[in-house]
């Protein structure tokens, strides 16, 4: 028998009080994550990205002295003592090219098609992208957990209906759904009770994106709850007389929470990617707001002349998603004892 199987792993030695190491699942997990070098690097990258994104206004107003939301088509700046137009007319009068990277504080990465500072926009874009990613991941995980638990715990008809619903959302082509929804929501303000989502609102991409991946999380959660339901400790809780609601709260939820926590960074990465794809397709974050995806999209007409406009936000996306995925992986290792060989305790 392999030692990975829990039932054969002998318990910790309990000869004396001192030798017993206290087990605190969450604290242990944190320690495990921090002990994993890749996870640590990922965490550091993430913290840096979040920090610089949060500090974007500081950069824009104190370093670059620009407003990243105002077009600067006719402006000019002084680079190396020479006055240069931000948008440079070609000699033939055909075409206008934004200034390239100056590697100075202003227009460090050059300007975009509106003469705006790309560096400042990328930083501001980070705020929006991270916001969309995290909020939609949170909503998605929340909804998916709720639905997954309901479906898995209730079983029967409720489960059947919810599972079919997941199937349908899943079978519906993601981009089609997203684009259809965003066209509807863009053209008509969506009103759900007191909340009204206008076209410019970030709530729009967030709402769309959080719907799309609900089945992605809800299905495994449902499966997990289904198997949890058969576990003896749930039976024990039932035999003790706990109500279903109490069992869900006290016994089911804490056991699926680790999976949800593992899913969160992965969903966030996925959501950042899908938000970027939607921006590429022209639905998603609306100007003047900019997310990384919209900046890439803005830069596409300049791809061959000023590739940095599109490259910089793309690199940021990739970096963020790598960090998030690595974090998710190490969280899985830390929180899911089944996937790991534990010896001694």
């Amino acid at each position: 028998m392999t030692i990975a199987r829990r039932t054969t792993v002998p318990p910790a030695g309990e000869q004396s009080e001192q030798t017993v190491r206290e087990v605190r699942p969450w604290r242990d997990a944190t320690r495990d994550v921090l002990a994993n070098r890749a996870a640590l690097v990922a965490l550091i990258i993430l913290v840096i990205i979040v920090l610089v994104s949060l500090l974007a206004p500081l950069y824009a107003s104190h370093v670059a002295h620009t407003n990243p939301f105002t077009s600067n088509v006719q402006g000019s700046i002084v680079v190396d003592g020479k006055k240069v137009d931000v948008m440079q007319q070609s000699a033939t009068g055909l075409g206008v090219t934004p200034i390239g990277p100056t590697w100075h504080s202003r227009y460090f990465l050059g300007a975009d098609g509106q003469g705006r500072d790309v560096m400042a926009r990328v930083l501001y874009g980070g705020r929006v992208s991270l916001l969309i990613g995290s909020v939609s991941a949170a909503i998605c995980c929340f909804v998916a957990t709720a639905l997954g638990i309901i479906a898995g715990y209730m079983g029967g008809l409720v489960d059947g209906i919810l599972s079919r619903l997941f199937d349908v959302v899943w079978a519906f082509p993601v981009y089609l759904l997203a684009i259809c929804l965003s066209i509807v929501l863009l053209t008509s303000t969506l009103t759900i009770g007191p909340i009204s989502i206008g076209s410019g609102s970030l709530a729009l991409p967030i709402a769309i994106i959080s719907v799309i991946y609900v089945p992605y999380v809800a299905r495994p959660i449902r499966a997990q709850v289904k198997s949890l339901r058969e576990r003896m400790f749930i039976q024990a809780a039932r035999s003790v007389g706990s109500s279903n609601w109490r069992i869900i709260r006290r016994d089911v939820l804490p056991n699926v929470l680790p999976s949800v926590i593992v899913y969160f960074p992965i969903m966030m990465a996925l959501n950042i990617l899908i938000a970027a794809s939607l921006s590429f397709l022209g639905v998603g974050v609306q100007p003047p707001r900019a997310a990384w995806g919209t900046i890439i999209n803005d830069g596409l007409p300049l791809l061959y002349t000023r590739p940095l406009v599109s490259l910089a936000p793309g690199v940021m996306i990739a970096l963020t998603c790598v960090a998030l995925n690595l974090l998710g992986d190490s969280l899985r290792d830390a929180l899911d004892p089944g996937s790991k060989v534990r010896v001694g305790s």
């Binding site: 939301f69 105002t70 077009s71 088509v73 006719q74 948008m87 007319q89 070609s90 000699a91 033939t92 009068g93 055909l94 075409g95 206008v96 090219t97 098609g113 509106q114 066209i183 863009l186 053209t187 076209s199 410019g200 022209g282 609306q286 100007p287 003047p288 803005d298 596409l300 007409p301 300049l302 791809l303 061959y304 002349t305 000023r306």
Partner: protein, 554 residues
């Protein structure tokens, strides 16, 4: 040799100088070869009575013929002239300008070999209503009997409206009221003569036999359209329908604009329909100057402001917008000074009725010089609309979007809380028309159908084109000024009798409207044609653009 005409014409817009009015004689040594053309997507149905796209209107010029036609084979203002095509001469106009009589040419055959008869003409006009041609209800509603046809298209006869006489080969049109633009409306593809055997429904991808030098062989909207010579064609009027040069024309629809530029650059295609993307202009302008042809278009880009809802129900707010927009910046975003010029009027330069004037430019004058943002801010202040929420609606393609973003930035600067909403171009145009959507301000453009001032002023800002609650309400600003509308009626009537006086009056109306500023004209675009290095004999018609069949590929 007209190949240089276009490229020299581009700078100022006065293209007529070097134009060869009669067109050059056919040069047999250049006959032959295959012309490969590129466009981003197909133009939809191939049915000329239904299709309303520039892509195919351009093609119909060398495939189909109406009774009348804009002169072909020439560049500049001469191309705006209407000449007889299948008709032997311009119509006799009688009955206080309500009856038009044509005589049909004899000996012309469709590409399926059957002769063109007056019955075909009648059938064509009936079919116009049977297939619900887009403008059947607006342009052709004055034909006697059109009412009934609009109500029940299936039984359309146009009895008394279109009268044909097979013996004399005459065709007579009877109108309910005079229509000075009728000759133009007979020169557009909606009224090209089709065989009476053409199905009374949208023909879709199935080609309908043609009369012109080329016929359609196959059409797949998602890949390509192939045209070859019409074996039954012979040149009957060099002015209306000259012989074409290439033996075969292939239109490919799969590449995007960037790829199209590359394809034309390396010679795997001869011409692209789409304007070259802004970032490639510099490259093609410097590397391939000989292959670039720039021509002014009879069009303008403008910003309609909804005069019925805040903040732009306040004239000062509208004027402020007009003051604040830096047209030069917008031209920059469009692609630079060569591809567009700032405008202050609704009627484009060189358009009938256009008069130079500029009410909203720093320092005054008749042409636009610079924005006056300070004044704009003051006006916003005075109007009491400062700080209001404004949503700009624009199309989502990169040029429109970037101009939209610029507008958003300008509106923010002069004191509004502005945001931008971009919609796919197919939705945007109808979306901004419908008052239900409460669009405050938007970005759009208008290209002429035919060279008449009413096609701009009356259509875009007349009361008759304001239909609240409808997706088809092209008066986007919702502007309806009774006195100006009356003036427009007068001017339109004047066009039938005294075109010069009429055009002068249109010019005045233009300025009157601009005082009330329901729109902010931005610029008039120039068309950039990029052709491969082997292409010769570039001819540009002001109405239907480049003459594809006149290009030499050999």
């Amino acid at each position: 040799a007209c190949s240089s005409t276009g490229s020299t014409a581009g700078s100022s817009g006065s293209t007529s100088s070097g134009a060869n009015v009669s067109g050059s004689a056919f040069q047999a040594q250049h006959k032959g070869g295959t012309l490969t053309m590129l466009a981003n997507g197909g133009g939809g149905t191939l049915d000329p009575q239904i299709n309303y796209t520039n892509t195919f209107w351009q093609l119909y010029q060398n495939t189909y013929d109406g009774l009348l036609k804009f002169r072909r084979g020439v560049s500049g203002a001469a191309s705006e002239e209407v000449v007889p095509d299948l008709a032997t001469a311009m119509p006799k106009v009688t009955n206080s300008r309500k009856t038009y009589t044509f005589t049909l040419r004899k000996g012309i055959k469709f590409s399926n070999g059957s002769p063109v008869t007056v019955d075909d003409v009648l059938a064509t006009f009936q079919r116009l209503f049977k297939v619900s041609s887009p403008t059947a209800g607006s342009w052709y509603a004055q034909i006697v009997g059109a009412d009934a046809c609009l109500k029940t298209p299936a039984t359309c006869t146009l009895k008394g409206g279109v009268v044909v006489n097979p013996k004399t080969n005459e065709v007579q049109f009877n109108l309910t009221s005079p229509n000075p633009e009728f000759k133009y409306q007979l020169a557009v593809p909606f009224t090209v003569i089709l065989p009476k055997s053409a199905p009374a429904k949208d023909a879709g991808d199935t080609p309908i036999p043609t009369t012109g030098p080329y016929k359609f062989v196959s059409y797949d909207p998602s890949s390509e359209l192939v045209m070859v010579r019409n074996p039954y064609f012979h040149e009957w009027s060099h002015a209306a329908q000259p012989q074409g040069y290439p033996d075969k024309m292939i239109y490919k629809f799969t590449l995007d604009a960037e790829a199209e530029v590359s394809a034309v650059e390396n010679g795997s295609a001869d011409w692209m329909f789409d304007p070259p993307p802004a970032d490639r202009l510099n490259e093609i302008g410097t590397k391939y100057p000989k292959q670039v042809h720039i021509n002014p278009q009879l069009a303008f880009w403008y910003v309609p402001m909804n005069v019925n809802i805040p903040p732009f129900n306040n004239v000062k707010a509208r004027q402020a917008v007009n003051w604040a927009i830096d047209r030069a910046a917008v031209v920059s975003l469009y692609g630079g000074t060569k591809v567009g010029s700032p405008v202050c009027t609704i009627l484009p330069p060189n358009f009938p009725g256009h008069a130079d004037s500029c009410q909203y430019t720093k320092g005054g004058g008749t042409t636009w010089k610079a924005p006056d943002v300070a004044k704009a801010k003051k006006l916003v202040e005075e109007s009491g609309t400062k700080g209001q929420q404004v949503t700009i609606v624009s199309q989502s393609d990169s040029v429109n979007k970037s101009i939209g973003e610029y507008l958003q930035s300008v509106l923010t600067e002069i004191g509004y809380k502005a945001s931008l909403k971009t919609l796919s171009e197919n939705i945007e145009f109808t979306y901004i028309q419908n008052t239900k959507h409460k669009v405050q301000i938007s970005l759009t453009q208008w290209y002429e159908d035919y060279p008449a001032a009413s096609d701009f002023l009356n259509v875009l800002l007349g009361c008759s084109d304001f239909h609240p609650g409808s997706d088809s309400s092209v008066n986007i600003a919702g502007f309806c000024d009774k006195s100006i509308d009356a003036k427009m009626q007068t001017a339109e009537a004047l066009m039938g009798t005294n075109p010069d006086a009429g055009n002068k009056m249109w010019g005045q109306i233009d300025q009157d409207i601009m005082k009330l500023a329901p729109v902010a004209p931005l610029f008039t675009p120039n068309l950039v044609d990029f052709v491969s290095s082997r292409v010769g004999n570039y001819v540009y018609s002001n109405v239907f653009f480049m003459n594809q069949d006149q290009l030499w590929v050999k």
